[in-house]
């Protein structure tokens, strides 16, 4: 019973990781950039949701949608200002820029509102616990799971059923060929950033509801973990990010349950290193031969 209880906690946490990991994986799939600033978009989402709920007293669903719109806008601005001029630069230059953007967002947030943490009100979602034969499931974890699964289904439909989704898939396979086919590559990349950042914003709100406490540097560790989840599932592969996120959440919950909660972060990094060493293409990835 204890084990199943931990599995449920793990899945709630894992669905937050999965939402962030989707943004990483889509951006990496399309421009081969590890967007270090993605974890900070998640943080901005958490704070935007917080202010919309506490200051403007918006209902949960409206706050969630508005947060997603605002973080989507932020993602597009980051892409246009910082990454677009570097489209033809080396990957290391782009990576360093991403680190710079990440630090800029973190410390601008601290500059604007201070480094002190904030607490989400705990009555956004009616706080009930459902008991099924010894298991207790809080209404928060159900809402989080529902929100993330809904968003993932919408994303899958968007990518496979719409024209823009088709363009995104085409650009990630071969940007030059896509351009020759008349696809507006720059616009497609912006759309990818917008979607990824919107999902990260939603993850931020979900995180706030689940863990209550939010702070300006909260994005770093979940951001890294989400990246690990993306690598675990196979970077660039959307279902891989979902499965990777869930798996990582479950592993962390189990490590904590076994009494090693201080080692939880180390376990995640160990998974990353093992997967990079033994199957760098990830669980769902195919091996691609290196060409000169």
């Amino acid at each position: 019973m204890e084990l199943i209880q931990q599995l449920i906690n793990g899945i709630s946490l894992g669905s937050i990781y999965a939402l962030i990991a989707l943004g990483y994986t889509m951006v990496y799939g399309i421009i081969k950039l590890i967007n270090f600033a993605h974890g900070d978009v998640f943080m901005v989402g958490a704070f935007t949701g917080f202010y919309l709920i506490t200051v403007f007293h918006l209902p949960f669903v409206l706050a969630l949608v508005l947060t997603m719109l605002i973080t989507a806008l932020l993602g597009v601005v980051i892409e246009r200002v910082a990454y677009k001029p570097l489209r033809n630069a080396t990957r290391i230059a782009a990576l360093i820029t991403a680190i710079g953007v990440s630090l800029l967002i973190e410390y601008t947030t601290i500059y604007l509102r201070g480094a002190q943490p904030a607490a989400y009100p705990d009555d956004i979602i009616p706080n009930k616990t459902i008991a099924i034969s010894g298991l207790t499931i809080s209404s928060q974890s159900i809402v989080i799971l529902a929100v993330s699964v809904t968003l993932m289904i919408i994303l899958e439909l968007f990518i496979h059923k719409t024209k823009t989704g088709k363009a995104m898939r085409a650009v990630s396979v071969d940007a030059d060929a896509a351009r020759l086919m008349g696809i507006n590559v720059d616009r497609t990349i912006s759309v990818t950033f917008a979607i990824g950042s919107a999902l990260a914003g939603a993850a931020g709100v979900a995180f706030g509801i689940y863990y209550i406490k939010i702070e300006p540097l909260m994005g770093i560790i979940p951001g890294l973990k989400a990246f690990i989840a993306a690598v675990l599932g196979g970077i660039g592969i959307i279902p891989g990010a979902m499965v990777g996120g869930m798996l990582l959440g479950i592993v962390e919950a189990l490590v904590s349950a076994a009494g090693f909660s201080l080692w939880r972060d180390a376990a995640a990094f160990l998974i990353l290193i093992l997967i990079l060493l033994f199957k760098p293409s990830g669980l769902f990835g195919k091996n691609i031969r290196e060409k000169v």
Partner: protein
Amino acid sequence: MKINKKFWIPFSLAIVFYAVVQFLLSSGTLNPYYENTLFLICINLIFAVSLHLIIGITGQFSIGHAGFIAVGAYVSAVLTMKMHLPFLLAIAAGGIAAAIAGILIGVPSFRLKGDYLAIATLGFGEIIRIILLNIDYVGGAAGMNVSRLTNWTILFFSVLITIIVINNFTKSTHGRACIALREDEIAADAMGINTTYYKVIAFVIGSFFAGVGGALYAHNFYIIQPQVFGFLKSFDILIFVVLGGLGSLSGTVISTALLTIVSIYLQDYPETRMILYSIVLILTMIFRPQGLMGTKEWTDLFKKYGKMGGNQNGKQTVA
């Protein structure tokens, strides 16, 4: 003859600089504020120059440097504070321990490239921090008290040895192999360069000096805590190297000295400092990705006037 001249002039200037500072310190002209600034610059120089060898010369993007610094800091602190061994021995041991950590981390990591390598080294650095956090013998999260043993003589000669060793390494056969590897790994491989061997060698030398720097760092600040050695520390050092110019030792030295002074002036406004840092970092990458000096050295500036047009290095690449 030329090589001797190239070596002895800067070397004697450095010794004169050492003697002047030593005189100013012992006569009390240099107040503790300037002394601290100078010490911090020297420690950061060791960190930055050791990372320069890994990123700038060999082109391996490592962002786990703080992990090696932590190993050096903790090993040396345990030796001096718990086992009461002499400080110089502790510095050497800190360096060697970090070098061993470098081998352990480097050998598996170098199967990876570019951004994957960056993330793996970041992960290893974090694992080292978490391990230290969980060892009660070294104080866990509360950290360890260390007495101040770092003085100007030890610090100065450590910096000097670091710079001389890494400069000579760069100019040796091995260094050329590393530069070839940075420019094009596949081509270097085709020319018969054992790429994995040189990556590990550069990584081990770099982490050795990071460990030495860590030992000096630990014995300068009275206390060491695992959270000091998080990846923000690695990013700090990365910024020194990148802004100075990937591949330029003198660029790294200049940017480290300048940025350390700037950060000390801004230490009461840490947010402003980080905002400034990050904006400078982004703008540098967009408008001058090769950094302050590119791959040029300060001695190249004099060469230019000697033989006009003879020293055009052509197109430079970054990492």
